[in-house]
């Protein structure tokens, strides 16, 4: 096996593991190709299994012959291993370092993972674009499926199948693709059945400094408007940033060329600014000082909640255009793979009850993130502890999940899934045994043959035994549009993610359990009473029958 040469020491005894809120565990440390395992070899203590790909950074220190490795994980957990013997410690450290930074995707664990569970439904086929389209085609005939990108030639980051206006042919789409960043021509993201308004998304138009235009582009997006209607273009960049983009060949839609559209600029941050924000936030959460003011000022300085507010506000604005103004919208930023997707997917959470169910939310992630070409591989390569500072690393998806959590907190009865579901998705986006979040787009995933060689996350999640952990006991289907508050007083730090390892959740878990018990008991009783009623009715009719003849 090719990993053997990377593992300098496969096994060390008498290693002590320290984790917050748990007693220290002494045991044997084993390194395999994909896992770090610590086992005390006692029945009652849990073993630690850590994926190498979950390791974000490691520090080592020595006190005499005792070495200490501090492992910082992508899920923000920090654990400490005390390893007797300097040489062993150095060997372990360098092995972990090598194994957690493999460059080749095909060496990642999903390619080696063999599921121990029975696959009931293959998740790779759970959310086919054709099926998703059927949900719309029953309501409208104005849209069609296009296979223009079948070979990924028109747009490398788009899936082979996209939904476009029926009146626009593939030839026109090819032309529009040359006018949009990354070939990302406008496609349908969401159809609001209530009033037929739509959300489209795309890359920025390549107007450049001399104001290039593209008739087909104008025709395409106008084709989505009803007669006499106006639409909104929501640019997720500030006007300033959008103007600067022209110098690099990008730009925005000139009102003169798109007279039926009104452009709105919002400013959602991207790339390293978000990454730095995450780093600062996690550092603040790990800070162990006594001073209250320092915590609040660090929380403020991280700007994390500012980003949350900005993204949510833009999504609410988009939803408001659709539902209240009765206007269709086109959303884009620069590439249309990050802030654009945050906004389109959150707008759907607000507008579309289905996306608040487990299955609907999975479909949303499949459609608006995976198929839509959010570059997971690049964005989630590292997390808050790594110093690599690559431009493309950015917690865009985590911010989205955080925004969903904020809405969930404000509407605790309107979601079929609970907080754990969101946390699980965060974990798997950064390190997983499943192939779902590998690659940057469909094209790459096809080349990697993920469907054949790896297991889909949805295959595992959508089994009753797993689903029960992620189901919100408070859920009562709510068919309404839900309008979250974006005021600072209404937004909170997501403790389940950011304080998860820094505070004991014992009492909160107990409360959750109690809540489940209350509801379960109610349901049981309901069933019981129904049976009794039926029995009684039967007996009573029998009684009548016996008496009447």
């Amino acid at each position: 096996m090719e990993f053997a040469e990377l593992i300098k020491t496969p096994r060390v005894d008498n290693v002590v593991l320290h984790r917050p809120f748990y007693p220290a565990v002494e045991g044997t440390l084993c390194l395999t190709g994909h896992h770090l395992i610590l086992s005390s070899r006692q029945d009652n203590t849990e073993e630690l299994w850590l994926l190498h790909s979950n390791i974000d950074a490691i520090d080592k220190r020595f006190v005499g012959p005792l070495g200490t490795i501090i492992i910082k994980c992508k899920d923000f957990r920090i654990i400490q291993l005390d390893i007797p013997g300097m040489e062993e410690c150095l060997n372990i450290a360098s092995s972990i370092e090598a194994l957690s930074t493999l460059d080749s995707i095909t060496l990642m664990y999903p390619f080696f993972y063999r599921p121990m569970f029975e696959v009931i439904e293959d998740g790779w086929h759970s959310f086919l674009p054709e099926q998703e389209f059927e949900l719309y085609s029953s309501a409208t005939s104005e849209w069609r499926l296009s296979y223009v990108n079948k070979e990924f030639a028109v747009c490398p980051s788009y899936p082979p199948i996209v939904i476009v206006p029926k009146s626009i042919d593939d030839e026109a789409l090819r032309k529009v693709a040359t006018f949009r960043h990354g070939g990302r021509f406008p496609v349908l993201s969401y159809y609001h059945k209530k009033n037929g308004m739509v959300i489209m998304r795309s890359g920025q138009p390549l107007t450049g400094t001399n104001g290039r235009r593209c008739k087909e582009d104008e025709k395409l997006i106008n084709a989505t408007l009803r007669a006499g209607k106006r639409g909104y273009i929501i640019d997720t960049r500030s006007l300033n940033v959008a103007q600067q983009a022209r110098a690099k060949g990008g730009g925005f839609e000139q009102e003169a060329h798109y007279p039926q559209w009104r452009r709105i600029h919002k400013s959602i941050e991207r790339y390293h600014i978000l990454q730095e924000s995450l780093i600062k936030l996690v550092e603040a959460c790990n800070d162990q000082t006594h001073n209250m003011d320092r915590w609040l000022s660090k929380l403020e300085a991280s700007n994390w909640l500012t980003h949350i507010k900005e993204i949510l506000t833009t999504a609410c604005l988009a939803a408001q255009c659709i539902d209240r103004e009765g206007a269709s919208i086109l959303i884009h930023g620069t590439e249309g793979t990050d802030s654009t997707l945050q906004v389109t997917s959150l707008a759907q959470i607000i507008l579309e009850p289905r996306s608040r169910t487990i299955r609907g939310f999975e479909a949303l992630i499949e459609r608006e993130w995976l198929q839509a070409g959010h570059p997971f591989q690049q964005r989630c390569a590292q997390s808050a502890y790594c110093n690599s500072k690559q431009k493309w690393e950015s917690p865009v998806f985590l911010l989205f999940l955080d925004c969903v959590w904020q809405i969930l907190r404000q509407f605790p009865c309107s979601f079929e899934f609970n907080e754990n579901f969101l946390i699980m998705l965060f974990e798997h986006a950064y390190a997983s045994q499943f192939g779902t979040f590998l690659g940057n787009n469909e094209s790459e995933r096809c080349k990697l043959k993920l469907q054949q060689k790896t297991m889909s996350l949805w295959s595992w999640v959508n089994r009753p035994s797993e689903l029960s952990k992620f189901t919100n006991p408070l859920f009562e289907a709510n068919n309404l549009v839900i309008w979250p508050s974006v005021a600072p007083q209404s937004l909170q730090l997501w403790e389940g993610i950011f304080l998860r390892w820094n505070r004991s959740s014992k009492y909160l878990d107990e409360a959750y359990e109690e809540m489940v018990n209350i509801i379960e008991y109610n349901k049981e009783l309901q069933a019981k009473v129904n049976i009794l009623r039926r029995q009684l009715a039967e007996l009573e009719t029998e009684d009548e029958m016996q008496e009447s003849p």
């Binding site: 209250m292 915590w295 309404l480 809540m515 109610n522």
Partner: protein, 660 residues
């Protein structure tokens, strides 16, 4: 009323501060007890009631083209912005309210005119609901170490203390009186809480008049007596809750703190909670942040930090945690004081008691706790909460802070409290409302002189009567979280202390979560209870019928096997369980629908089971059971039944998103 210059002004507009929706047009009324705004909109005629005693400040702003703006800030954190068309009317309202909001005599307060239509006997029983002598009995007193002292009979020793106090058995009247002469306002060390598991206790007093070198033999004997009352420990902690600098400054005025050298076997400790003036300013600053119109995240967090409010809350909690640990883990008794021993001392003793004893975390126990550490020990409610016109420098949110500490604990221990957030909010409301007599005056003595119990009603009886509204559905008295001492993490956890928007922004319902888990679970539990009763009844009937049938079958032998699926519905019984019209019943519970098409599982909810029971609060239509606010806003309904408020605030959210 002679103070009302104009009882009614028409065409007044009430501005909605959060959203940019159009101001509501209506009529403003001034009555002897309330300011009332009634909207003109014929379908709603929504009413907003403000008690005069709730008014904190009234601000007349510069007249604009649209009229004369009047800003009314309330002590329960409601903020009312009115625009009155005529400057003259505005001035009249302003002058009237200034006077009405600052009564000079107790008799002017609402509780002397408030009549909940109870007869004399009910009122008297109400006052007997909370009985402190019962509470000391519950603690296990009197016993070998502690006895009831009559030294303060007729308030002879200390006029701000109650007449019935527990003191160490070895403390003679001579020692107590001697000690009292060495303490500010004669507030000598007395028992606040006795921890029967290990005999450790929490005692409270005011600061000693030690100056730079004075000492008092009796006071030293008094502390010695407290130590002896706890045979398990050879020392006591003396906790001075003030910052050291403040305590030292007091020495120049002949006051100060205990010198460890003079007292045998004490360990002295400063805690550093700021004084009432710092707290007043801190709250002021925090409320300014809450008032900001569409603040950025940074404005808000920076303002919150700058107010120092959460730092102060944490300081009080830390003091409580220290004492609870000393008592429960070390088994050491603690004497707590600040300057006069009626503000910080009350906060800290009650937080510590709450951590130590599950009883105080029950509905009734919490009333007892406030009765004991706040009301009986002479917390100056009248001065602190400005019930009567007085020195504004005496006003400070001391008990507000304690109530917030309780909320912070409830957030961390969701199953440990029998009551819910609404209970705390209503208590806070009534501390200022002066609707009930409990919180009047500055001491027990004053209350007795005013014959409060004969002339007013008790809040506790009122809350107890409506206890169904205040229950925490997650509380179970056999839960591990419920029992014993609440243990907070030892590592500094600043992030555990959060801004309480449910209190300070509670009138901005749009900022609160739109669905309440507590209300949902309460509805489920209520239904569960009804189901249990139904099950019992059904089982009984079944049994009877089966007995009868058994006799039948014996006679008739087996003629016809009843079909299991005879297709008869349960219609006979379902009359008791008809699904209700929930879309029209958003008021009581919005999100819980007759679940998923299964008609048997319809919820049995009474329309008013979640309605606020509080006459004053529910009159304030926005406040507790707000129609629109609990429901998820559906702007135009869609394929499902529109929520009741649809269309009503069509553009309420727009501005929020657009301006941000």
């Amino acid at each position: 009323m002679e103070h009302i210059r104009t009882p009614k002004v028409e065409n007044v507009r009430l501005v909605d501060r959060i959203s940019s929706k159009k101001a509501a047009l209506g009529t403003l009324y001034l009555t002897a007890t309330h300011v009332i705004f009634v909207e003109n909109a014929p379908d709603t005629r929504k009413e907003t009631w403000i008690l005069h005693s709730q008014i904190s400040t009234i601000e007349k702003q510069a007249t604009a083209a649209t009229g004369c703006p009047l800003l009314i800030r309330c002590k329960n954190f409601q903020l009312l912005q009115l625009i009155i068309p005529q400057e003259r009317d505005c001035h009249d309202v302003y002058i009237s309210l200034i006077r009405l909001a600052r009564p000079v005599k107790y008799e002017e307060l609402y509780c002397f005119s408030f009549n909940p239509k109870l007869d004399k006997e009910e009122r008297e029983q109400g006052w007997m609901l909370i009985d402190l002598s019962e509470e000391y009995k519950r603690m296990g007193l009197p016993n070998n170490f502690w006895q009831l002292s009559d030294v303060n009979r007729d308030y002879r020793v200390c006029d701000s203390y109650p007449t019935e106090l527990y003191v160490p058995k070895s403390a003679t009247a001579h020692i107590i009186v001697g000690s009292s002469k060495f303490r500010s306002r004669r507030r000598f060390p007395a028992l606040s809480y006795y921890y029967r598991d290990n005999h450790a206790s929490i005692c409270r007093s005011s600061q000693p008049l030690s100056g730079f070198s004075a000492r008092c033999l009796e006071d030293e004997q008094m502390l010695q007596a407290i130590r002896k009352a706890n045979p398990g420990s050879d020392f006591i902690y003396v906790v001075d809750t003030r910052p050291k600098l403040n305590a030292m400054a007091n020495r120049a005025a002949g006051k100060g703190y205990e010198n460890e050298d003079n007292y045998s076997n004490i360990k002295f400790q400063f805690i550093g909670i700021e004084n009432i003036h710092v707290m007043r300013n801190s709250l002021q600053k925090m409320l300014e942040v809450c008032e900001l119109k569409s603040p950025s995240m940074s404005d808000f967090l920076w303002g919150l930090e700058n107010s120092g409010w959460l730092r102060h809350i944490k300081a009080i909690m830390d003091a409580g945690i220290f004492i609870a640990k000393a008592v429960s883990e070390e088994g050491v008794s603690v004497l707590v004081h600040c300057s006069d021993g009626w503000d910080r001392t009350a906060q800290v003793c009650s937080v510590a008691s709450l951590l130590l004893d599950p009883h105080y975390r029950t509905l009734k126990g919490f009333m007892v706790l406030i009765e004991k550490d706040w009301i009986s020990f002479g917390h100056k409610f009248n001065h602190r909460y400005g019930n009567l016109d007085g020195d504004p420098k005496e006003i400070s949110p001391v008990i507000d802070q304690f109530i917030e500490c309780v909320w912070q604990l409830m957030e961390q221990f969701p199953c440990a409290f029998e009551f819910n957030e609404r209970f705390l909010i209503h208590i806070q409301h009534h501390i200022y409302s002066c609707q009930f007599g409990n919180f009047l005056c500055n001491s027990q003595k004053e209350r007795q002189e005013l014959k409060i119990q004969e002339r007013t009603y008790s809040l506790w009886a009122h809350l107890w009567k409506n206890r169904a509204d205040y229950m925490n559905p997650l509380f179970r008295d056999d839960h591990s979280q419920t029992r014993g001492t609440l243990r907070l993490p030892t590592t500094p956890c600043n992030f555990l202390y959060k801004f309480w928007s449910g209190m300070y922004n509670r009138f901005e319902k749009g900022l609160q979560p739109r669905q309440s888990v507590t209300d949902y679970l309460m509805a489920v539990k209520e239904e569960t209870q009804q189901l249990e009763e139904e099950r019992e009844a059904l089982e009984e009937r079944l049994e009877k019928i089966q007995k009868v049938q058994l006799n039948h079958t014996k006679v008739k032998a087996k003629q016809s096997e009843p079909s299991k699926h005879s297709g008869f519905s349960t219609s006979d019984n379902s009359t008791a369980n008809t699904p209700q019209d929930y879309s029209g019943n958003m008021k009581s519970f919005p999100s819980r629908s007759p679940s998923q098409g299964d008609e048997d599982s319809a919820l049995i909810l009474t329309q008013d089971n979640l309605k606020s029971s509080d006459p004053d609060l529910s009159a304030n239509s926005d406040q507790e059971s707000g129609v629109e606010d609990l429901s998820c806003r559906s702007p135009s309904g869609g394929e499902c039944a529109p929520s009741e408020d649809s269309g009503k605030d069509r553009d309420s959210d727009e501005a929020v998103f657009l301006t941000a």
